[in-house]
C-alpha cells in the first residue's frame, strides 16, 4: 500500500495506483477527457494536471503512479489556470459548434469540463480549418471537426475490441481520425460494434439513429441482457416515450466490460421488419384480423381435434427461460406431441450437457478468455457468432497470445496474431489426437499427424510445442466441433484438458440454447410436417427446413413479432412481443442467470409466448409450473465448474 496526501487529506492506495486513483479514493476529483477507466491511461489531454510537491512541473495525474509521501494538490491557482489554458487550446484547435451538436447540453465531456472551469468564452479564436466528416458508415458518423484527439475510440477499438480499425494519420493539430489506411469507414475493416461511439467523450463519433432523439438525461435507462448469442452481455437499453432509442454496453456489470457487438447494440434499433399488430386467421385464402379469443379458441379446437402425435411444436431460443419451460411442459410433458424442438442448428449446449452427465462438470466461465497465454479454438467462428468473446482473444492476439484455430472455414479471430496455427477442415478427431501428441510429446506420431492435417511443423511447434507448460491454456469449443457425432472427440479433448490443466469454454449458439438443452429440447432435429404445426418464432428467424416443414403441414400456427414468409403461409398468426418488450430470464454460456428487464411496453394486441401458453393451458384444464429455477441451477452445476 502507498500512503500520500491529497489536498491535505491522507489517503492509502494499492501499489500501482495512479495519482488520479488516489485523488478519487480521497473523495476529490479532477476533470479528465482522455482518461477512461476501461482503457490504459494515455495522458494526452493533460486536463488532469495536478501539483505534486517537489515536482518541477504539473503532473498528469492519470498516468503518474502514486508514490509514498506524495503531497498532491488539485485545486490551486496554478492547476486551475492550466486547465483553462488546456481547454482554450482544445477549443481553438477544431470547430466546436456546440449549438447544433447532438452531444450538447449535458452529454459532452468537453463542454462539461469547460463549465466546471466557469469558461464563458474561448480566449483563442479557432482557425476555422475544416476537417473531414466521414458519414459513409450506416451506424455512426465520424466528424473530425469535433475530435479532441483523446484517442479513446482508437484505444477502445484496439485495446478492447482488438480490431484496430481506427487510427490517426498526420501529426499534431492536423491529426485525423481515420479507418485503416484512410478509407471511408463504411468500406473499412470496421465491424460496426459501435464501442468507439460509446467511448467518445464529444460529438466526434455520433450514433446515427439516436442523434437528436434526446440527451442521456431525457432517456429512460433499463439494465438488461442481450440474448442474441450465448454470452449474455449486459447492456443498457435507452428509451424515450416507450421508443427504443439506443443500446449501450453496461459499464458496471457483466463479463463484457461495457463492450457490445453489432448484434447487441445496433440490430434491435435497426430492425426494419414490419410488426404484426393483430391476431389473424386465414379465410378464403386471405389473412384477416380476429380477436385473441377467437384465435386462441381456434387453436384449442385444432389441438382437441388431433391426436398428440399429429402435433409438432417448435420454439425459438430467443425466448426467455420461462417461455421455454412452459412450452416444453405444455407440449412435451402434458401433450407428449410428436415433435418438440428448439429452432437452430447449434448442438453445443446439448452435447456438452450430455458429456458432463457422463464425466462430470468440466466447463469454465467466459472470463478465462480475458487472460490466457494459449487459445485453442475448435469449430467456432467467434468473431461472427460470439463477437464479444472474439474481442477478448483478438485483443490478446496483438500481443503474444499463441493461437491454434481449427474450423472448416477461415475465421478472423487470429488475424492479428503472429503466433498462429490454423487448420481449415473438419477432422476434429485428428485435431484432438494432434493436441494429445503435443501435450505428451509423443514425437513418433507428430510429423505424420501434422502432415495429415496439412500443418507447418515449425509453426505448430511454436504454438503448441509446450502445451503442458502453459499456465493459462484455454480451449474454446463451438458448434462445428460440438456436434453429437463428435462426442468421442469432445470426450477425448476434455480428458486431455484435465490432464494438462487447460480450461474449456463452450460457446452455446443462439439465445437461450443452453436453457433449452437443459429442458431436454430436441436441437437441430429437422422439423417435420404435421397435421398441426405450432411455430413460436417470436422476434427470431427460422431456417428453410422449418419453412418447408411448415409449408407441408395442414394447420399452421405461427406466433411471431414480424411479418415473414412464415406468417404469410400461416392459418393463424399470433402477434408476439419482442425481447425488449418482456421481462424474463436468460442463461448464458457460463451458466449465469440474467434477468432481462422489459424496456418497452408492447403495443396493444401483442402477447408474449408465455402468456399465450398460459391461456392455452387453462383451456386444456392445465396449470403450468413456474418452478424451473432450482432444476436449472442444479443442472448447470453439473456442467460448469464453480
Amino acid at each position: 500500500m502507498i500512503q500520500l496526501t491529497v489536498n491535505g487529506q491522507p489517503v492509502e492506495v494499492e501499489t500501482g495506483s495512479t495519482i488520479l486513483d488516489a485523488i478519487r479514493i480521497a473523495g476529490f476529483n479532477v476533470p479528465t477527457l482522455c482518461y477512461h477507466p476501461k482503457l490504459v491511461p494515455y495522458g494526452s489531454c493533460r486536463l488532469c494536471l495536478v501539483e505534486v510537491e517537489g515536482a518541477r512541473t504539473l503532473q498528469p495525474s492519470c498516468v503518474v503512479p502514486a508514490n509514498n509521501g506524495m503531497i498532491v494538490r488539485t485545486d490551486t491557482d496554478r492547476t486551475k489556470s492550466a486547465r483553462k489554458f488546456i481547454l482554450s487550446m482544445i477549443f481553438s484547435e477544431r470547430n466546436h459548434f456546440c449549438m447544433y451538436c447532438q452531444e450538447t447540453d449535458g452529454d459532452c465531456d468537453l463542454q462539461q469540463a469547460a463549465y466546471a472551469e466557469n469558461m464563458t468564452h474561448w480566449p483563442i479564436t479557432p482557425a476555422y480549418k475544416p476537417f473531414i466528416v466521414d458519414a459513409s458508415h450506416p451506424d455512426f458518423i465520424l466528424d473530425n471537426n469535433r475530435c479532441i484527439l483523446c484517442r479513446r475510440c482508437v484505444r477502445a477499438c484496439t485495446e478492447l475490441v482488438g480490431n484496430a480499425t481506427l487510427g490517426f494519420e498526420e501529426r499534431g493539430s492536423g491529426s485525423l481520425l481515420i479507418a485503416d489506411n484512410n478509407v471511408p469507414l463504411g468500406e473499412s475493416t470496421c465491424i460496426s460494434c459501435g464501442n468507439c461511439v460509446q467511448f467518445c467523450p464529444t460529438g466526434a463519433l455520433i450514433d446515427r439513429r439516436s442523434a437528436y432523439q434526446g440527451r442521456e438525461t431525457d432517456l429512460t435507462h433499463v439494465n438488461s441482457v442481450c440474448m442474441d448469442c450465448s454470452l449474455g452481455c449486459e447492456r443498457v437499453v435507452k428509451t424515450r416515450d416507450n421508443r427504443l432509442v439506443r443500446i449501450d454496453g453496461n459499464p458496471d456489470a457483466g463479463f463484457n466490460e461495457s463492450l457490445l457487438c453489432y448484434d447487441g447494440r445496433y440490430k434491435p434499433v435497426a430492425e426494419n421488419r414490419k410488426r404484426i399488430t393483430s391476431p389473424m386467421v386465414r379465410r378464403n385464402g386471405q389473412l384477416e384480423s380476429i380477436t385473441w379469443d377467437e384465435a386462441l379458441s381456434a387453436i384449442s379446437v385444432q389441438f382437441k381435434a388431433h391426436d398428440s402425435n399429429e402435433i409438432s411444436a417448435h420454439i425459438s431460443p430467443r425466448q426467455p427461460i420461462e417461455a421455454l419451460s412452459a412450452f416444453h411442459e405444455f407440449f412435451a410433458d402434458h401433450f407428449q406431441v410428436g415433435q418438440v424442438t428448439l429452432l437452430g442448428h447449434d448442438q453445443t449446449a446439448r452435447t456438452s450437457a450430455k458429456l458432463a452427465a457422463e464425466i462430470g462438470a468440466f466447463e469454465s466461465g467466459l472470463s478465462v478468455l480475458k487472460d490466457c497465454d494459449t487459445a485453442i479454438i475448435l469449430g467456432t467462428d467467434m468473431v461472427k457468432d460470439h463477437p464479444v468473446a472474439g474481442f477478448f482473444l483478438k485483443r490478446q492476439a496483438m500481443h503474444d497470445l499463441k493461437m491454434f484455430i481449427a474450423n472448416s472455414t477461415h475465421t478472423k479471430v487470429g488475424d492479428w496474431s503472429s503466433n498462429k496455427l490454423e487448420y481449415i477442415g473438419s477432422d476434429y478427431a485428428a485435431v484432438v489426437d494432434l493436441l494429445r501428441s503435443f501435450a505428451h510429446r509423443e514425437e513418433a506420431d507428430l510429423s505424420a499427424q501434422l502432415q495429415n492435417l496439412g500443418l507447418n511443423p515449425e509453426r505448430a511447434e511454436k504454438v503448441l510445442g509446450n502445451l503442458k507448460e502453459n499456465q493459462k491454456l484455454v480451449i474454446v469449443v463451438g458448434k462445428e466441433f460440438a456436434k453429437a457425432e463428435n462426442l468421442p472427440a469432445f470426450r477425448s479433448l476434455v480428458q486431455l484438458a484435465r490432464e494438462i490443466g487447460a480450461k474449456v469454454v463452450t460457446l452455446k449458439g443462439k439465445g437461450n440454447n443452453f436453457a433449452g438443452a437443459l429442458f431436454g429440447y430436441e436441437m437441430d432435429a429437422q422439423a417435420k410436417s404435421a397435421p398441426v404445426f405450432f411455430l413460436a418464432l417470436g422476434d427470431g428467424h427460422a431456417c428453410d427446413h422449418t419453412r418447408d416443414a411448415l409449408a407441408g403441414s395442414e394447420f399452421k400456427i405461427v406466433q411471431a413479432s414480424y411479418e415473414s414468409a412464415f406468417t404469410e403461409m400461416a392459418d393463424i398468426v399470433l402477434p408476439c412481443t419482442i425481447w425488449d418488450e418482456q421481462t424474463g430470464y436468460y442463461l448464458n454460456s457460463d451458466g449465469k442467470l440474467g434477468l432481462n428487464q422489459q424496456a418497452i411496453q408492447a403495443a396493444d394486441g401483442n402477447r408474449s409466448v408465455l402468456d399465450v401458453l398460459k391461456v392455452l393451458a387453462s383451456k386444456s384444464g392445465l396449470t403450468l409450473s413456474e418452478n424451473w429455477r432450482a432444476a436449472i441451477e442444479e443442472k448447470v452445476a453439473t456442467i460448469v465448474l464453480s
Binding site: V133, A135, G214, N272
Partner: protein
Amino acid sequence: MVTQKITIEPVTRIEGHAKVTVHMKEDGSVEHAYFHVNEFRGFEKFCEGRLVTEMQQITPRICGICPVSHHLAAAKAGDVVLGCPPPRPASLLRELMHMGQIIQSHGMHFFELAGPDLLLGFDADPAIRNVVGLIQADPELTVKAVRLRKFGQAIISELGERSIHPTFAIPGGVNRTLTAEGRDRILAGLDDQVETAKLGIKIIKDWVEANRETVDKFAVFPTGYLGLITPSKGLELYDGDIRLKSRTGEELEVFSAQNYLDYIAEHVEPWSYLKFPYYKKLGFPEGVYRVGPLGRLNMVKHIETPMANEELKVFKAINDGAPVENTLYYHYARMIETLFAAERVRVLLDDPDILSNDILNTHQEPTGHGVGVIEAPRGTLIHDYTANEYGQLTKVNLIVSTGHNNYAMSKAVDMVAKEYIHGPDVKEGMLNRVEHAIRAHDPCLSCSTHAVGQMPLEISIYDHQGNLTQTLRR
C-alpha cells in the same frame, strides 16, 4: 438635373440589417427609393457537407424570431430526403409548435414592433416610439401583448424545451410526446389569447377607420399572391400544396413544393443581398407576388376555423372579393391569422392523436433529394436539400419568406417615399413612414439573406456631385 440621395440606416423594428437610400431630384421630390438588404451569411454554401439530420438545428440559426419555421422546414425536407414520412401524431405536434410560433411572432410584430407606429403615431418622438413608450402609454394593453407572445413561446418550449432554437423535430417525426399535463397547461391559457387576438383585430379595424386616407394611399399596388392551402383551398400554415393567384385574383397554379423550381425563379439586383423571387411563366417583374398574412388571405378561399373565417369574410369584403392591395392591411391580416392560430391550437389539442407516442418513423428509404415547405409567419419558406447516399448534403437552396416580398417591399418603399418625402427639409416622421412601408411586411432579413440584420435609420442627402449636404439620424 440635380440628384440628392438620402440613406436610412439602419431600419429599426424589423428583423435584419437593411437600409434605404432615397434619390432625390432637384425640386425636392423623390426620384427613386431603394431598399437595400445589407447582409449576407451563406448558409447555402456552408451547409454543404453537413448532415441532413443536423439541418433542423443549424438552419434555425438563420432566424431567432421564427426559428421554428426553419426547424420544421428542415425536418420536412429531411422527411423526404431520408424517405421517412412522419406518423400523423408527429405532424400534429409539429403543427402545434408552429401555431405557437405564429402566435408569438405575429403578436410581437403587431404590438411590439409595428404597434408603436399605429398606437403612438408615425410622427411620435422616436425616443419613445417603441415598446417602452407603449408600456407607458397603455400598460394594460402592453401586458396583454406580452402575454400573447409568452403564450406562443410557451407552446414552443412545452414541446421543444426551449422557446428559441428548440430541439424537437427530426426527420421522420419528433423526439418527444406531449403529456396530458402539458396539453392542459396550454389549454389553460388559450381563452385569454383568443380574446387578445380579437382585441388586436378591433384595434387595427379602428385604426383603419381613423386613418382611412393613409391606408388608401400608403403603398397600394397589385401583385400576385402565394401560399400553402388545405385540400379545399383554405388557409394552411404547416403543410399542403402551394397556390398562386394572379393580381386580379385568378388561380394561376396549384403545385407541390417538390416542384417549386418549375414555377419560381429568383432575380438578382446588384444593390441588395436579397434576391427577388417571381413566377417563372410571367417573368420578372411581371411575375412578382406577395406572401405572408396579406398574400395568404388574398390567396385562400376560406379559413377552416369559425371565428377567423368570419373575419376573413370581412377582409374579403374590403375590395369586394378582389385582392386587397393596401400594404397597411398586412396588420389586419396578421391579426386574423393570429386568431386562426389560436383556434387551431384548440383543434390540435382536442385531437386524440395529440398525446400519442407514435411520433417517429425510423424506417428510412432515402431518396437523396427533398423540399421542405412551410408557411412561416412572414410567408412561404422553402428548404431544398440534395444529399449523397450517406445523408450528407451536396446542395442546399433556401428561398425564405421575406425574400418573396422583396419586390413588394422595394415597391412600397419607393411609393411611400414618393408620397411622403418632400425636400429639402426632410422630417424624421417622413422617413419613419418609409421604414413602416418595410415594417408592415414584418420582414425578417436574417432569414431572407440567411444573414441577420436590423434597419436603423440614417438619411444622408447628397447633391448631384456626391457631396453630403444633410444628414438625418434617429
